[in-house]
């Protein structure tokens, strides 16, 4: 999206300079409208509403380099800012694992917690001949060029990895033959799939909620361990014989240089948000499933996740 890059800049500028010392700031490393922006705005709003912070949290949009610009900003210029939180998701971990942040590594910040997960999903148009994930995988294994996927991330990104993992489980070896086009977000990917330009879309469940209700798409599989509450009629990939679990968690990281005490405070506040009615409501409205993990547990989860994605990316050949 080249269109709205300047929008965030202004708010960045606005807040960066006008902010008084004690107000917390949340950086959304993308344009307004995406998942990171949602994370910052919702968490910021709820933090204030439940009284965890005194002043409204200032949301700064800092798009660039798929989150890399914000990452380097935090590492290089705000490393000891105790009032800074930054929105993160699986995409952050994926890019770190694939060394897409120009040499910066995951240990240069502290991951403070996740408070929701957007389960991965594979969907087709309502009039598609593929009735189950097995139909789709078998067609793709027979002729990898026959099934084209559309997703919201660039080649090699998280949305691209999901179908590749499933197809590898299904026995496909030459995954470079699988067609994938990265478009401007999940909604765009659905539009292309409903239009018949691609055969399937790969994304998160929140991205297809409206289209599911309208009966325009059919979800073939959700990539979770158990079926998702509220979407019980969508089978998991696992129960169809493909052991792939991939969800886009929504969480935060904070600068490396803050005190342990401050880190625990943020973890505590995040847990409060996770338990609030407002967050339950926001999750329900946006198709998120509960997934709360804060503090050192979460840091451990991230470390193993990054190691996994790194290994997988090498196996697939996304990185050398």
């Amino acid at each position: 999206m080249t269109f709205s890059i300047r929008a965030l800049g202004v708010s960045a500028f606005l807040f960066g300079a006008a902010g008084a010392a004690s107000a917390a700031e949340c950086i959304a490393p993308a344009n307004p409208g995406g998942g990171w922006d949602f994370t910052c705005r919702q968490i910021g709003k709820i933090l204030h509403e439940i009284g965890a912070v005194d002043k409204p949290v200032q949301v700064t949009n800092m798009a660039g380099g798929g989150g890399g610009l914000a990452y380097s900003h935090v590492v290089n210029e705000r490393n000891d800012d105790p009032d800074l939180i930054v929105a993160a998701s699986s995409a952050t971990a994926t890019r770190l694992a694939q060394n897409a942040y120009a040499g910066m590594t995951a240990d240069q910040v502290r991951f403070v917690g996740a408070i929701g997960i957007d389960p991965g999903v594979i969907a087709v148009a309502a009039d598609s001949p593929f009735m189950s994930l097995r139909d789709l995988v078998e067609a793709a294994v027979e002729d990898p060029g026959a099934v084209a996927f559309a997703g919201g991330s660039a080649t090699g990104g998280f949305d691209h990895l999901k179908p590749l993992m499933i197809l590898m489980e299904g026995g496909l070896t030459d995954i470079t033959k699988v067609k994938y086009i990265g478009v401007d977000g999940g909604a765009d990917a659905i539009t292309q799939t409903i239009g018949g330009f691609t055969q399937a879309m790969t994304g998160d469940i929140s991205e297809i909620v409206g289209f599911l209700k309208a009966g325009e798409v059919r979800a073939l599989a959700v990539l979770t361990e158990e079926r998702v509450p509220g979407f019980e009629d969508i089978p998991t990939a696992r129960e169809q014989g493909y052991d792939v679990v991939a969800g886009n968690w929504r969480g935060l990281y904070v600068p490396r240089g803050i005190s342990d005490e401050r880190f625990r405070e943020w973890a505590e506040k995040l847990a409060q948000v996770a338990g609030s009615d407002q967050w339950m409501e926001a999750m329900a409205a946006n198709g998120l499933a509960p997934f709360t993990m804060v503090g050192d547990d979460f840091q451990g989860y991230i470390d193993s996740l990054i190691a996994d994605i790194n290994r997988m990316s090498k196996d697939i050949g996304v990185i050398q």
Binding site: T2, S4, L8, G65, G66, I181, A285
Partner: protein, 501 residues
């Protein structure tokens, strides 16, 4: 009458003294923001999002405020285009082509009133279109795959040839400069940096606002320094500002056609208001033919892009509301606002949350009428700008540009780039190279390339895929005709200079 009942529901939500006050405030703020170079509609909306939270506005009030600012900025953008030859925001780019020459002829007031009316017509028709056709039109997007989008962008560039320069090669050079600049930054498809020379500032590419403000505002100041303030519209004696009834009547069909073209362009995700005003202007220009005098300051050339871009602004709401796909930067910001209010746009929004949709539509209608009332009588005040002596006005324009661009990233790098674009713009315009195609190249370059590459992924590198649907073929034919026709027509008509561009 479902629609009437719904509309009544919408007005019930949106019509109260409080929301009306918000609408007026939003319209005034939006007009000011739109008129200032560097600050556009998406900035305006983005700046105000936190304010709505601070004020604790409910969903409807927040929407009324935001849409007023959105439409207000679309109106405001034309003011600096016409008075100063500096587009206030990117969709107002095309308005400079005839608006500024018209102002130079001493008809600044007429141009402003006419364009205000055109904006009103465009926005009104688009809102009505949104009301009746949104669920239907959202399906248009399903017929545009990568190949069709590529052909659409190609059409835009091919028809540029006849624009503002008599030399098609020079117009093509300008397009290439723009497209070339657009390639800088992260490659959307592979995520790899391109042509950044290891410069972190270039990772995100060159912001087209930096280019617009540089090529127009800064270059304009250089022209003033060269001429010491002579030979410009500033300081021109003003006739009384009246409503140019004859011009408005003569542009009636132009406004209607331009609104239609703009609205459709707006509906297509990714095309947006800039393409809307551009296509509206180009189609009117070709209907009028070389004798229409487009580019020399004719009223129809002012009415077309303004009707087009305001209609596109309304059209862009269609994919945003029905598909959740923002058609422009501003709608992306509006989308963010909706999501924060726990409203998820999508195909079921119209049935799930009618009060939101119809409240939004009602507030668009309200904002539009408020803006017409504000803009036409207030033209006198805007025109006063021309009586400010150039030695105050021009430094003022330059300083506003600096602050506007500085607010993007807070770094001096964009400012240096802007000054560089200013010098480039001065030299290019001296050489009769139009600068509008540069901006369009930067705006659309990545979309165009992405479409091509996606098409090739889907077809396994088979180039015939680009011509494999009726829509694509139609767009290709139009593109070829748009490029070739001026070459044959121009020598026949021997038209003199087509304006300064």
């Amino acid at each position: 009458m479902d629609i009437l009942a719904n509309l009544a529901l919408g007005f019930g939500v949106a019509l109260s003294p409080f929301t009306l006050t918000l609408a007026v405030i939003g319209c005034v703020l939006g007009t000011v923001i739109g008129a200032l170079p560097g600050l556009g509609p998406s900035n305006g909306v983005a700046i105000l999002i936190p304010i709505t939270f601070t004020l604790g506005l409910d969903a409807t009030s927040a929407l009324v405020l935001m849409t007023s600012v959105y439409y207000g900025a679309m109106y405001g953008g034309r003011i600096s285009s016409i008075l100063l030859n500096i587009p206030g925001d990117e969709p107002a780019l095309m308005t400079t082509l005839d608006g500024y020459p018209m102002a130079k002829k001493g008809r600044a007031g007429d141009a402003l009133v006419l364009s205000g009316v055109a904006s009103f017509v465009g926005a009104l028709l688009a809102t009505v279109g949104l009301m009746f056709l949104a669920p239907l039109l959202s399906r248009v997007a399903y017929h545009f795959g990568p190949a069709e989008y590529f052909a659409l962008y190609l059409l835009a560039f091919c028809t540029l040839g006849g624009l503002a320069s008599r030399n098609q090669a020079k117009a093509a050079i300008a397009s290439c400069i723009g497209l070339g600049i657009a390639m800088i930054g992260l490659d959307n498809t592979s995520g790899m940096p391109r042509l950044t020379f290891g410069h972190l500032h270039l990772m995100d590419g060159v912001d087209f606002l930096v280019a617009i403000v540089g090529l127009f505002a800064v270059a304009e100041v250089f022209f003033f320094i060269e001429s010491h303030g002579r030979n410009t519209s500033i300081g021109v004696r003003l006739e009384r500002v009246t409503v140019p009834v004859r011009d408005i009547a003569a542009s009636g069909w132009t406004m209607l056609r331009a609104s239609g073209v703009g609205f459709i362009a707006g509906v297509l995700p990714g095309a947006g208001a800039s393409l809307g005003s551009f296509l509206a202007y180009m189609s009117e220009k070709s209907i009028a033919g070389e004798r229409g005098g487009f580019g020399t300051g004719v009223p129809r050339g002012v009415a077309a892009p303004e009707a087009g871009n305001n209609a596109a602004a309304g059209g862009a709401l269609v994919p945003m509301l029905t598909l959740g796909v923002p058609g422009s930067g501003t709608t992306a910001v509006l989308l963010a606002l909706l999501m924060t209010l726990n409203i998820t746009p999508g195909p079921t929004l119209f049935t799930d949350r009618p009060e939101v949709v119809w409240g939004l539509i009602a507030s668009l209608l309200i904002a539009n009428f408020v803006l017409l009332l504000l803009n036409v009588p207030l033209v006198r005040i805007f025109v006063r700008v021309l009586q400010v002596p150039p030695w105050v006005l021009l430094p003022g324009v330059m300083m506003v540009s600096f602050v506007g661009i500085y607010s993007l990233s807070g770094s001096y790098f964009d400012l240096l780039l802007m000054v560089g674009f200013g010098a480039l713009g001065y030299l290019l315009r001296k050489l009769d190279v139009p600068t509008v195609p540069i901006i369009l190249g930067i705006l659309l370059g990545n979309h165009m390339e992405d479409s091509l590459r996606r098409a090739m992924v889907l077809s396994d590198g088979d180039w015939t895929f680009l011509f494999s649907s009726p829509i694509a073929i139609g767009l290709w034919l139009a593109a070829v005709a748009g490029f070739v026709a001026p070459m044959f027509l121009r020598p026949l008509l021997r038209k003199p200079n087509a304006g300064s561009g």
